[in-house]
């Protein structure tokens, strides 16, 4: 898929900011034209004044100096004000549009996520790539402004004769064309590599940061730091290549600026004041073109970001399917004589050696992916008939890694379902045998549990994850090693609580466990083999 999905997303997001964008363009056009006029008019004024001064007192008296000198001052003020307006309105349009874009992208990503994708990588896309887009929004008015500046300069140059004007036009086109060629050759590769290198570096920092104990234990710090430094050096190299490319583009503008002034003056067939007006206007024109050249250079960064963003949108454009008719009153695992059929409210324990696919069976049922490993059926239809997003409404999963979001205990519990009362939260904590511990925490249920819940112990996280699953109010509870990390007494209490809760709520249970206490919770057992 091309970027068309992304284009729609971008244009929808920018619609609300159209007024700011139009204002920015208007200001940019006025600013660029007045900048050219200021230089040109000043050159004409001085030269005219010099000629009049040489020609004697009569010529001086005939020389209209009031109008041009007033115009010069006016242009200076207009240029300042409009440039401020251009920048402010342009940035306003860009920032507000892209805030919407970021959120839209995140939303699309969560609708059909690529769970294998590393989080640092994804965050880089949402933050940096979108920021690169910001650049394009900001530069759009400037681009149009530079066209206006170039046009104004051509008009002024026409006063120096058609040869000078044509020369200026050719030089401007040559500047843009050669910059475009250079930019295309020098910039896209490093621009792309910079973002890749940042994402890689960030990913590695995240991964190694989680391993600090092992790194200290084996004195691997220097090796790991060396690894990170070499990733960083890759990044620096690409940055240098990119900076060199950009500098070359700027150099083209400086050089052609000199050529343009020389050409216009050399080819002028007008009077000296008009020649000087044209020469200085040419300098202003190339300066205006320079803004366009900078935009061309930036385009490489933007394109690299766009490419990644388009990939994201392409992967995630399908809307979640509503699974109509999915009731979940009957779940069948396996086929033939060995099949296990469960009715609503039934309980099943799954055991088996590690790596035999117990966890992926649970996460598959829960609708996180479609690779179940075993033939499964819900309501007597094969799993393939029920798309993953639809299945999610049937199951409340407490996964093996008891994943938490950075926030408070309450924040994490409230993920389960909107509109939960505080009493409901405490009930769930009590059932999960965690209420007493939370009660003595400094801020109780609003205690901050750190990044990914790291301020809780492994067992506390497990039980918090369980409490959250209880709160979801789904017909089936899926638990992956719920009592791992618990002492024996708590485990027994947990088993009793869950037993009562399941009876009361008529909820079905599928639990993956090795522990006897938890096995006792289920009526039936399925032993998976590798």
């Amino acid at each position: 898929m091309t970027g068309s999905g992304l284009q729609t997303l971008l244009s929808n997001a920018s619609r609300a900011q159209r007024r700011s964008m139009r204002l920015a363009i208007l200001y940019a056009v006025i600013a660029a034209a007045s900048a050219v006029a200021l230089l040109g008019l000043s050159g004409w004024f001085i030269t005219g004044a010099a000629l009049a001064g040489l020609a004697g007192i009569a010529a001086v008296q005939a020389f209209n100096y009031l109008l041009p000198s007033a115009a010069i001052r006016l242009l200076a003020i207009v240029r300042t004000l409009t440039r401020y307006g251009e920048r402010l309105q342009g940035h306003k349009a860009a920032l507000l549009t892209l805030a919407t874009v970021r959120t839209d992208l995140f939303q699309r990503f969560v609708e059909a996520p690529d769970l294998a994708r590393a989080s640092g990588d994804m965050a880089a896309t949402l933050l940096q790539d979108v920021e690169a887009l910001e650049d394009r929004f900001i530069r759009t008015p400037g681009m149009l402004g530079s066209l206006a500046g170039a046009g104004a300069a051509l008009l002024l140059c026409a006063a120096a004769g058609w040869a000078a004007a044509v020369a200026l036009l050719i030089i401007m086109i040559a500047t843009l064309w050669s910059s475009w060629l250079l930019a295309r050759r020098l910039l896209p590769a490093p621009a792309h590599q910079i973002q890749e290198a940042i994402a890689r570096l960030k990913h590695d920092v995240v991964e190694y940061g989680a391993c600090s104990a092992e790194i200290v234990a084996y004195a691997m710090r220097e090796t790991v730091e060396g690894e990170l430094q070499s990733r960083a050096a890759d990044l620096d190299r690409t940055r240098l290549a990119f900076a060199r490319g950009e500098a070359l583009l700027a150099a083209v503008v400086t050089l052609t600026g000199g050529i343009a002034i020389a050409a216009v003056i050399g080819l002028s067939d007008a009077s000296l004041p008009m020649t000087m007006l044209a020469g200085l206007a040419a300098a202003g024109a190339i300066e205006a073109v320079g803004a366009a050249v900078r935009s061309i250079g930036r385009e490489a960064t933007v394109a690299a970001g766009l490419q990644r963003l388009a990939g994201l949108v392409a992967k995630t454009h399908e809307p979640p399917l509503e699974a109509s008719g999915l009731l979940g009153i009957r779940i069948t695992i396996g086929t033939g004589a060995d099949a296990i059929a469960m009715q609503a409210g039934d309980r099943l324990a799954i055991t088996g050696p590690s790596g035999c696919g117990k966890t992926s069976l649970l996460t598959c049922l829960a609708g996180l992916h479609d690779a179940c490993g075993l033939p499964l059926a819900i309501d007597d239809r094969p799993l393939a008939d029920w798309p993953a997003p639809g299945r999610r409404s049937l199951f409340a999963l407490s996964p093996q890694d008891a994943q938490m979001i950075a926030g408070t205990i309450a924040d994490n519990l409230r993920l389960a379902r909107p509109g939960l009362s505080e009493a409901a939260l405490w009930d769930a904590l009590a059932t999960a045998c965690l209420a007493d511990e939370v009660r003595v925490m400094p801020q109780g249920i609003t205690t901050w549990i750190g990044d990914g819940g790291t301020r809780l112990s492994g067992g506390q996280r497990k039980r918090l994850s369980l409490a959250r699953a209880l709160l979801a109010g789904r017909p089936w509870l899926l638990l992956d090693e719920p009592s791992e990390g618990l002492d024996v007494a708590t485990e027994q209490q947990l088993k009793d609580n869950l037993d009562a809760w399941l009876d009361r709520t008529k909820t079905g249970l599928i639990v993956v466990t090795h522990r006897l206490a938890m096995l006792a919770l289920a009526g039936r057992q399925l032993t998976m083999i590798g």
Binding site: R79, T80, L88, E246, A250, A406, L415, T454
Partner: protein, 523 residues
């Protein structure tokens, strides 16, 4: 302000501007004479040559600035990476923020060193050079240029301080936003399985919108200072043009202090915008300055890189005896402890206790990865030192470096012969797991360990512990999530390999606890 190579190159760019102005003035002079077409053409050729020189100086200045940035960033990275790798688990700063410090914040310094610092020097020195050159043609025009600096500086101070105040706050907000995105993406499976996508998205939308609005407020002020600059840049051109015009006309309202001709007048006119150009370039790099300085303020909070550890860190020559007395681990909001226990030498001590009682914190404290606020740990009667590299460790996560699986196991004991590595892998049960792979232990891994199962990762960690065979073993639930049979097999290997070593093992499994010489239950 140091004159570094890139800043001197930017100063040379100013000299190029003077040469261009001089060439243009000569052209006007010859144009006025109308007799010397040759002189005119020579001047114009000079103009082009000056422009070419200027262009090449600019390229050199940019490249040289980028190189100084690389050197500066390298120094910061030493500290930032160290901070990430020695961070205590459970610290309130979100991992996302730490990662942002080590990556984004350091990249924020790029423009500061590559562009802002060299340009700041040039912004101070080049206008002086330009004014001096202008003074040779018209000292009044030079004086006008310099005089506009006074109100300009006042305006910049007013607008600039306001801008930097808001900018520092802004950076904090951006850091938190980045942390928030990383965290929510990581927790995605949970968010999705509870159908909380919409609520989480809404929360992120509010946070993002707020950041955008605040950024806009910062820009409103930041642009004000550039507007001041623009104004004086334009005004200096206008004033010089008007002064020169009236001087040439002989219509100055005061006695003319000097007599200009066209060449001189054009020379100063063309120099007028160049006078402010370095400052405009600096203003364009103002964003680099803001984010660079704010990033530095955050980064200076990082602990400095310690002086290279003791040349001869106390090595554990024999299984140590460890005495922990009244140790309190303090995460700020949450405290665990005090712990008091003796771990006899050469024995296996099992640590169990209800979740949250601080078992893992205690292991981390032995590696000096947990912030302690009271008590002490003594090893063989001495205060605990750096145990880096002296421990057999197995825990919940496994560090993977690019290389083969065998290379990764060997990290625990560099230079270990292949036979030992294979043996450790076999005992950890890794050989049977990787038997299905075409290359077995020679399978190459990237840093992500792509394609490794959780069980394989866990066993690489255990193989390391076996291979290292240190006098001290620290094991944090090494068999959690393993089925009974694998857990028994692994515990059997650990029990054998660690016989006679000092072992501290955290577990909940009563069957494993039964293997211990000493069993400590934390309250």
């Amino acid at each position: 302000m140091r004159a570094t190579p890139p800043s001197l190159l930017w100063l040379a760019d100013g000299a190029g501007a003077i040469a261009m102005a001089a060439a243009l003035a000569c052209a006007a002079h010859f144009g006025l004479a109308a007799s010397s077409r040759e002189g005119l053409l020579t001047s114009l050729a000079g103009l082009i040559i000056a422009a070419a020189l200027r262009a090449s100086v600019q390229v050199a200045a940019t490249g040289s600035g980028q190189k100084t940035a690389v050197a500066a960033k390298h120094g910061w990275r030493l500290r930032a990476f160290r901070a990430v790798l020695t961070a205590s688990a459970g610290s309130r700063t979100m991992l996302g923020e730490q990662v942002a410090d080590a990556t984004d914040r350091i990249e924020d310094l790029d423009g500061y060193h590559a562009r802002f610092l060299p340009l700041r020097f040039a912004a101070g020195a080049t206008p002086l050079l330009i004014a001096a050159a202008a003074a040779t043609a018209s000292w009044v025009a030079a004086a006008i240029l310099v005089a506009t600096l006074v109100p300009f500086a006042l305006g910049m101070i007013l607008a600039g301080t306001a801008a930097s105040r808001v900018a520092a706050r802004q950076l904090d907000i951006l850091g938190r936003l980045s942390g928030l995105f990383i965290d929510r993406v990581r927790a995605l499976p949970v968010i999705i399985s509870f159908g909380a996508q919409e609520r989480v998205s809404r929360h992120l939308a509010e946070a993002t919108q707020e950041v955008a609005t605040r950024t806009l407020a910062v820009l409103r002020v930041a642009f004000l200072s550039s507007a001041v600059l623009e104004f004086f840049a334009a005004l200096s051109v206008a004033l010089v043009a008007v002064y020169c015009g009236f001087n040439l006309l002989g219509l100055l309202p005061f006695p003319s202090p000097e007599k200009l001709d066209l060449g001189r007048a054009l020379f100063v006119l063309v120099l007028a915008p160049e006078f402010y150009l370095p400052m405009r370039r600096l203003a364009a790099a103002y964003h680099d300055k803001q984010i660079g300085e704010a990033a530095m303020a955050r980064l200076t909070d990082l602990p400095p890189v310690p002086i290279p550890d003791d040349p001869s860190p106390a090595t554990l020559r024999h299984p140590p005896e460890i005495a922990i007395g009244g140790l309190v681990v303090d995460y700020g909001e949450r405290q665990v402890g005090p712990f008091t226990l003796d771990i006899p030498a050469g024995c296996m001590t099992v640590l169990s206790g209800p979740s949250g009682s601080g078992k893992s914190s205690l292991l981390n404290a032995l590696l000096r990865l947990a912030p302690t606020s009271a008590g002490a740990i003594r090893v063989d009667g001495q205060p605990i030192g750096d145990l880096q590299g002296q421990v057999s460790w197995a825990g919940q996560t496994t560090t993977l470096l690019p290389g083969t699986i065998a290379d990764n196991i060997r990290l625990a004991r560099l230079g270990a012969p292949d036979a030992d590595v294979v043996d450790a892998a076999r005992r950890a049960g890794l050989l049977t797991l990787v038997a299905g792979r075409a290359e077995g232990l020679a399978t190459r891994l990237d840093t992500r360990g792509s394609g490794l199962s959780g069980g394989e990762r866990r066993r690489i960690g255990i193989a390391r512990a076996l291979l290292r065979d240190a006098p001290l073993w620290l094991l944090d639930e090494p068999t959690a999530d393993l089925d009974r049979e694998s857990a028994d097999a692994i515990m059997h290997e650990i029990r054998q390999a660690a016989a006679g070593r000092t072992v501290l093992l955290v577990t909940h499994d009563p069957r494993i606890a039964a293997l211990a010489d000493q069993h400590v239950s934390l309250a």
